[in-house]
């Protein structure tokens, strides 16, 4: 069941909301939480019933492992290792399945048959974090029901944000969880509408073009050089509007249920370097990697890899997390090299007494970071290295044509081959990315978002559309009209068949 489907919007969601407030009031906290668990399991089973059993088995295993960690102090380290390795092995197995049988193409198709249990990577990470936090004694003991709901809570079950038990459990226990709160509901609904609009109107509008270009290269057909650039740029924007849309919808849905999920995106394409980018893109994933991979490695006494080694391993692991295909591995390795480059650049600049931040470089840095993201996106999207090289080859040819002064030929090709709606949408998306406030900033007046980051993002580039940039959502008639119009547009554009890109991760 998709968030962007009539079935979800018109049947599932109203029933869940009505049941949540109704059952919560009538049957108390346990009844309300149980209602959410059942709804979440139905939501998961609606994709593929057989994977529900796997999810339940995994829940049982990890819950028992956490119990053993608590109850057997002498063997708690062993229990932790066994449980973590079992989780990683399961994840590895399914990543192998998709690498062998599906390739990245299957992962990125928004209509392709689902090969592996949905959200397996997200679920595994949450469970590992739970086990580690239990081991470290950071968690207060909770009920099995709370644990099951923490993992299966349907807004974030499939694609995150990756949440910690310590973030959700207290919210499950807070007084007034089941009390109807119109302000929370309004806010959640509007965040959800923004997400729905981003997915249905923006991301889905360019998906066919991207699929077409990458599909053509995969089939050995030739494409025009400029198509390669437009497709690379389109994918970069598509994946942002697709993934951040899901996060917005998840946060909005949770908010409608009086639950606060952590922010997951913070204008990533306004980042001024790779570190800044990872502080803004898929924040909950970045926080997880920092907390559970980077810091343990950097501080490890047994294997002394240092900060640089830890950084390299962390970025490689993040590549593996996305998949075991060669493109993901190269993508992870390149991320690693780039981040090390930024790290050493900072050190060298510091020794020379030069600061990039103070020299008026933000626009340049932002565009350069974005360009790198576009180029890395080609690897990320390609079904194999051959396709990626095919794309890069055409991109180089396009650049060569421009330097040869034959810009008219490129323009004519855009005019003929690329659908004009794709171009209009691209321009619109770029204006939104660089000119309008992010969801977090837009709703900041009413929404104190949970933030898993330990450091704030860097100061960003000047605004493309300063007036829009400083608009803030308010519970006012003007915003009610805007949100109603956005919902209507989304409903009109909604096809109900387009999945989210990150479903397969």
């Amino acid at each position: 069941m998709l968030f962007n489907s009539y079935l979800f919007l018109l049947v599932f969601l109203p029933l869940v909301l009505a049941g949540f407030y109704g059952v919560g009031q009538l049957a108390g906290r346990t009844g309300g939480l149980l209602w959410l668990v059942v709804a979440s399991l139905i939501f998961y089973a609606s994709w593929e019933l057989s994977y529900l059993w796997l999810l339940l088995a995994s829940l049982l295993f990890n819950y028992l492992a956490a119990l053993l960690i608590r109850k057997l102090p002498r063997y708690r380290r062993l229990c932790l290792w066994i449980a973590v390795l079992a989780n990683v092995a399961l994840l590895f197995y399914f990543k192998l399945v998709i690498a062998v049988f599906g390739g990245n193409g299957a992962a990125f198709s928004t209509t392709h048959h689902i090969l592996i249990p949905l959200g397996i990577s997200f679920i595994t990470f949450q469970q590992i974090a739970f086990l580690v936090d239990t081991y470290k004694g950071k968690l207060t003991e909770g009920s099995a029901l709370e644990y099951v709901l923490f993992i299966t809570f349907f807004p974030q079950l499939i694609m995150g944000p990756i949440v910690h038990y310590r973030e959700l459990q207290p919210q499950f226990r807070k007084a007034g969880l089941f009390r109807w709160n119109p302000d929370n509901f309004s806010l959640g609904m509007c965040i959800f509408i923004v997400g729905l609009f981003k997915k249905v109107v923006l991301a889905d509008s360019i998906a066919p073009f991207v699929d077409g270009v990458y599909g053509s290269i995969a089939q050995g057909e030739s494409i025009a050089p400029i198509d390669a650039w437009v497709a690379a740029l389109s994918f970069t924007l598509q994946i942002y509007f697709d993934f951040s849309a899901y996060s917005d919808m998840a946060i909005g849905l949770a908010r409608m249920l009086n639950i606060n999920l952590p922010v997951n995106f913070d204008a990533p394409y306004r980042a001024v370097n790779r570190f800044d980018y990872w502080r803004r893109w898929h924040i909950s994933f970045g926080a997880f990697m920092r907390q559970y991979v980077f810091f343990p490695l950097a501080r490890a006494k047994t294997f002394k890899v240092g900060h640089v080694g830890a950084l390299a391993v962390t970025t490689l692991v993040s590549g593996f997390w996305h998949g075991l295909g060669a493109t993901f591995i190269v993508w992870g390795a390149l991320q690693s090299l780039l981040m090390l480059g930024v790290h050493y650049r900072g050190i060298i600049a510091g020794k020379l007494g030069f600061s990039f931040r103070k020299r008026g470089f933000p626009w340049f840095s932002m565009l350069l970071t974005f360009l790198v993201t576009v180029l890395l996106g080609v690897l990320f999207r390609s079904s194999d290295l051959q396709v990626a090289f095919g794309m890069y080859e055409q991109m180089v040819v396009a650049v060569h044509t421009i330097f040869a002064g034959d810009i008219t030929a490129l323009y004519q090709h855009i005019d003929r081959a690329v659908d004009r709606w794709v171009l209009i949408n691209l321009v619109l998306m770029i204006l939104i990315v660089w000119g309008m406030p992010s969801t977090r900033r837009l709703f900041a007046r009413h929404w104190t978002a949970l933030d898993q980051r330990t450091s704030i993002p860097e100061k960003t580039a000047p605004d493309l559309l300063p007036w829009f940039r400083h608009q803030a959502f308010g519970l006012t008639p003007r915003w009610a009209i805007i949100m109603a119009a956005m919902l209507c547009s989304a409903l009109i554009f909604m096809s109900g068949t387009s999945r989210f890109i990150y479903y397969q991760f």
Binding site: Y6, P182, F185, E221, S222, T476, A480, A484
Partner: protein, 387 residues
């Protein structure tokens, strides 16, 4: 409910009412099928509703002397701004309605005939127009809006679909933007087709369209078929009363299409249909009506044009966009032969009469058998497609 939610709900209702009002003003009864509804509550897109709405305005504005009506084959096959054609036929309106079944086409043709004096009416026919579509809840005919027993929920659902479906909104938007993006005299822009060919090539375009047609040709409903044949008969009678010359022609189908019909087991139906059309035309001719029936769906050098090799996007076919849709060059030849009735050299564009139909179909059948024997690879390709 707090103030914000009240404003939000009010805005939502206002927007929907405004949209419904626009839809109602432009298309009060959903007559132009700019709505569609699947069973239950799901409002879904229905094909080409915008075209239908736009054509209504075009007819009123353009006042054609000649009307070339049909489905997408006509839309893509005739360049109505061709000077040679307009010198011969006067102002031409290409009433090619993509995906149109004959009952829809009939309604549109009648609108034109009722409003204007049309000298020549050319109707491109193919068997698919007489076969049923997937039936949706809510037919497109106004009379069918109310159930026989006046079932309240059904008409409400149909009304909702006509006023608020995605296509209704998009159709209305397109009508309002019409001066900027629609040519008045219809017809597909050949540049658009060439761009598609450049991107996909003939083969890929053909695969796509044949997969769709395989499903369409495999459907048959006796009641629908009889109803639509009767509609054609009535239309011919009315055209006769209006003193309009009618040229019916069976579209120039590529042999792949012929094999497709054979593979789904409807070859007999196809030949019977031709016979029935011929009988109908003969009866009208006996009454003094100026009506002819010409068959271009024959096996000929034109309809047997070979396709480029797989992966070849450079080669351009002389007569076809893909196996289902012929190009403007073929359209021009169709007009030439309709006017000259000259099929002596290759049989392409055979004028069918009650006297020659039996012999002609016999000849066609043996030609088809010879084709099946001589091109097993092509037959297998089509057969695989059906499976």
């Amino acid at each position: 409910m707090n103030t914000y939610l009240r404003y939000f709900a009010g805005s939502l209702v206002a927007i929907f009412l405004l949209g419904a009002a626009v839809n109602f003003l432009l298309d009060p009864l959903g007559y132009f099928r700019n709505h569609g509804m699947h069973p239950g509550f799901l409002l879904k897109e229905r094909v080409w509703g915008d075209d239908r709405t736009v054509y209504d305005l075009s007819i009123n504005t353009y006042r054609p002397d000649t009307l070339i009506a049909g489905n997408s084959r006509v839309k893509r096959g005739f360049a109505v701004d061709d000077r040679q054609l307009t010198e011969r036929l006067g102002a031409i309106l290409n009433l090619g309605l993509p995906g149109a079944r004959f009952d829809e086409l009939d309604r549109y043709i009648r609108i034109v005939l009722e409003e204007h004096t049309v000298r020549h009416l050319l109707i491109g026919l193919d068997l698919g127009q007489f076969l049923p579509d997937r039936e949706l809840v809510g037919g497109s005919t106004p009379e069918h809006w109310l159930d026989a027993d006046g079932n309240f929920p059904t008409w409400l659902k149909k009304l909702a679909a006509a006023l608020w479906s995605k296509n209704a909104f998009l159709a209305s938007a397109k009508v309002m933007l019409r001066p900027y993006n629609i040519t008045l005299n219809g017809g597909a822009n050949p540049d658009t087709m060439l761009e598609k060919l450049e991107v996909s090539g003939h083969r890929r375009m053909t695969r796509k369209v044949e997969a769709h047609l395989a499903r369409r040709y495999s459907r048959f409903d006796q009641e629908v078929y009889v109803e639509r044949v009767a509609a054609l008969n009535a239309l011919l009678a009315d055209a006769c009363l209006n003193n309009t010359d009618v040229g019916l022609f069976i579209s120039p189908m590529h042999i792949r299409q012929l094999l497709l019909i054979r593979e789904v087991g409807h070859l007999g139906l196809f030949f019977n249909w031709k016979t029935q059309l011929t009988d109908m035309v003969s009866q009208h001719q006996k009454k003094g009506c100026r009506v002819t029936l010409t068959d271009f769906s024959t096996i000929s050098p034109y309809t047997s044009e070979p396709f480029p090799e797989p992966g070849d996007k450079q080669h351009r076919m002389q007569w076809y966009w893909e196996s289902s849709h012929y190009n403007h060059q073929m359209g021009r030849m169709v007009i030439d032969r309709l006017w000259n009735h000259d099929d002596s050299h290759d049989g392409f564009g055979k004028n069918l009469t009650a006297e020659n139909i039996a012999g002609w179909l016999g000849e066609e059948r043996s030609n088809l058998n010879a084709l099946v024997r001589s091109q097993p690879g092509l037959v297998k390709e089509i057969s695989d497609l059906i499976r």
